[in-house]
Amino acid sequence: LGGVVLRLGAIVASVLGVLIVVIGSLLPWVRTGERTRSSYELAALADRLGVLPSGAATVAVRGWVLVPLLAAATVAALALGRTTIGGFLALVTGLYAVVLAWLVETSRLKTDVGGPMSIAGGIIAILGGIALVVSGVTSARQAGTE
């Protein structure tokens, strides 16, 4: 019963985590003057102003628009009972959100509520995702030994 509860908790954490990430990404991340910008507006502005460093960072920022799709894929996989895949997607979404939001939070920009919210959601998604992936891998190993 403990395992079932833990698994259920991990699923809830994964879904909740990615949802918070998406909601956080739509909320204001930075404030310039009296204007606030969401993560997507900030990413587009940074791209237009040419302030993105070249290489992986640029790809990561440009790919940020995929976050709602990643979150949706997480929820869809979990709804279909593919918990390991769902957990893995939650882990990726959470890590992506935490890293990007952390970079913005530690920059010289005046930050707003969206970033911390995405970090919080990201951490919840990471924990849920890890639990599901570990549980999935363990179950697969046990099935293999039987």
Binding site: V65, A71, V75, A76
Partner: protein
């Protein structure tokens, strides 16, 4: 014969097919269907959200109409949003302004003109609110439109105390009467006559309208001169060179021939689009004025460059060249930079003057050799980050000699010179202190401090940065152009690099 008869084949006994009931629509199956529907709906929603965000992101900024572009600019100003203000500019101007802002902010902070915690994202010191703004646009040609405010009231307040300036400027502001540090005003656009309404020029690029600083200035000048709108068909066609080096060489040749049209054609068609567009309004007049003028009396020979990649282009730093100025007073200037040695030879009369600066282990050495006119040699030795010593010795044409060490006194307030001077066979000591202030009225800057800064600057590594100033070329459509704005910016940036991080 056997009784055995061959009978008909035996048919299998008929069986009644076993009835299997269709699987019951169980709770489990129902759950799977619901899960599938949920998954599909969530995936479609996520996909749509991503597609919408991606489409918003692919928009290149700007606005659908000239009025909307100016409205975005006004909103950014009202919100003290510098990033938003930069974002409404035409793409090339946006890049230029962003680059210059970044560089200038750093220099301004280093030199205490801006406070160290100044945030460029936020423009403090003023409030602006415009009620009932109505904008009207007038097409100048197919890609330029002037936008003017025709109605609305602007309410403005300004406060010097809130400006993010450095401590020195803040101290100066503190001396101003508190009442004079604030300003307040209202402007009713409807009551302004047409000549008082400054048009803001917008330009169309890839189907979107952007505010343009350069076109606004150009339009202001054109309207002031009462000239006809620029005709796109008459614009100066861009004509770049095949390489960055060729672009610079062709630019020098165009300067020598005073060929304005060629100079404009060699400027980048994106960055200098305004010049290409508006040049026909004045070019014919200028060319007529210069028609009978002979080429400028100089030639440049042996031009060699060191090429550096810079953001969006290549910077060409002169490595060697000889400039010959002909005419009544011919002068030849030869410059060469080899490794850690910079030399300059000037032939302007009977005797050439050769100046050489060379890196040494402790600083730099210099020689200024005027032949029979005299010679000065010396070293600049860096003692530590703050102090240095100049040792110089020289002889003049009339056999006077001097050798001296120049340092800053230990309290940093005076310049101390010690050495000997020989004239007509008599040697006399040099032992002097120069104290006080270097700048009249600037009691806060002692002479020693100024010399201390000079000592930091004349180190080889710093002074050599002056000779890193070059010409910036950019590539557009496979051809190379000389960027006048970026090259000018490079001069200021080069000076900034020399003074960068000097201790106050």
């Amino acid at each position: 014969m056997s009784d055995q008869q061959a009978g008909p084949p035996a048919w299998p006994a008929p069986t009644t097919p076993e009835y299997t009931a269709p699987p019951a629509f169980t709770k489990k199956r129902k759950g799977k269907v619901i899960a599938g529907v949920v998954a599909a709906v969530v995936l479609v929603a996520g996909g749509l959200a991503t597609a919408k965000l991606a489409m918003d992101r692919s928009a290149k900024g700007g606005a659908a109409t000239p009025e909307a572009a100016v409205q975005k600019m006004v909103t950014a100003i009202e919100q003290n949003d510098l990033l938003g203000l930069v974002d409404v500019l035409a793409p090339w101007e946006r890049d230029f302004v962003r680059r210059q802002l970044t560089k200038l902010t750093k220099v301004a902070k280093d030199n205490d003109a801006l406070s160290h915690d100044a945030d460029l994202g936020h423009l403090p010191g003023y409030t602006l609110r415009i009620d009932g703004l109505k904008l009207d646009s007038q097409a100048v040609n197919d890609h330029i439109a002037d936008v003017v405010p025709v109605a609305g009231t602007a309410h403005f307040t300004g406060n010097l105390d809130q400006l993010p300036v450095g401590s020195r400027i803040r101290d100066a502001i503190a001396t101003v009467d508190p009442q004079d540090r604030t300003a307040k005003g209202d402007v009713d656009f409807a009551s302004l006559d047409e000549s008082s309404r400054t048009p803001i020029a917008t330009i169309k690029q890839d189907g979107r309208w952007y505010v343009s600083l350069f076109y606004t200035v150009a339009e202001g000048i054109r309207r002031g001169a009462d000239a006809a709108p620029p005709d796109p068909a008459q614009a100066v066609a861009a004509q770049g060179a095949d390489s960055p080096e060729a672009a610079v060489e062709q630019m020098i040749d165009a300067i020598r021939r005073v060929d304005m049209r060629r100079l404009i054609a060699l400027s980048p068609p994106d960055e200098m689009a305004v010049l290409h567009d508006y040049a026909p309004l004045f070019l014919d007049h200028v060319q007529k004025q210069l028609a009978n003028r002979p080429p400028l009396p100089f030639t440049v020979q042996g031009l060699q460059f060191t090429t550096q990649n810079v953001e969006g282009g290549k910077k060409l730093i002169p490595k060697a060249f000889t400039v010959k100025v002909t005419g009544d007073n011919p002068v030849t200037v030869a410059y060469e930079r080899t490794g850690d040695t910079i030399s300059l030879r000037v032939d302007a009369g009977d005797q050439p003057v050769v100046a050489t600066l060379q890196r040494t282990a402790s600083g730099a050495s210099f020689v200024i050799d005027g032949g029979q006119q005299g010679k000065i040699t010396g070293t600049v030795a860096t003692i530590d980050d703050e102090t240095f010593k100049v040792h110089a010795s020289g002889t003049s044409a009339d056999s006077r000699a001097m050798t001296a060490d120049v340092t800053v006194s230990t309290d940093g307030k005076c310049i101390v010179a010690k050495g000997t001077s020989t004239s007509d066979g008599e040697t006399s000591p040099i032992d002097g202190n120069t104290c006080g202030t270097g700048v009249p009225g600037a009691s806060a800057i002692p002479m020693g401090s100024l010399l201390g800064k000079f000592g930091q600057i004349v180190r080889y590594d710093r002074i050599a940065k002056l000779f890193d100033i070059g010409v910036v070329t950019t590539q557009v459509g496979g051809k190379w152009y000389v960027s006048p704005l970026r090259s000018t910016g490079e001069v200021f940036a080069g000076l900034g690099r020399v003074f960068e991080g000097l201790s106050n």
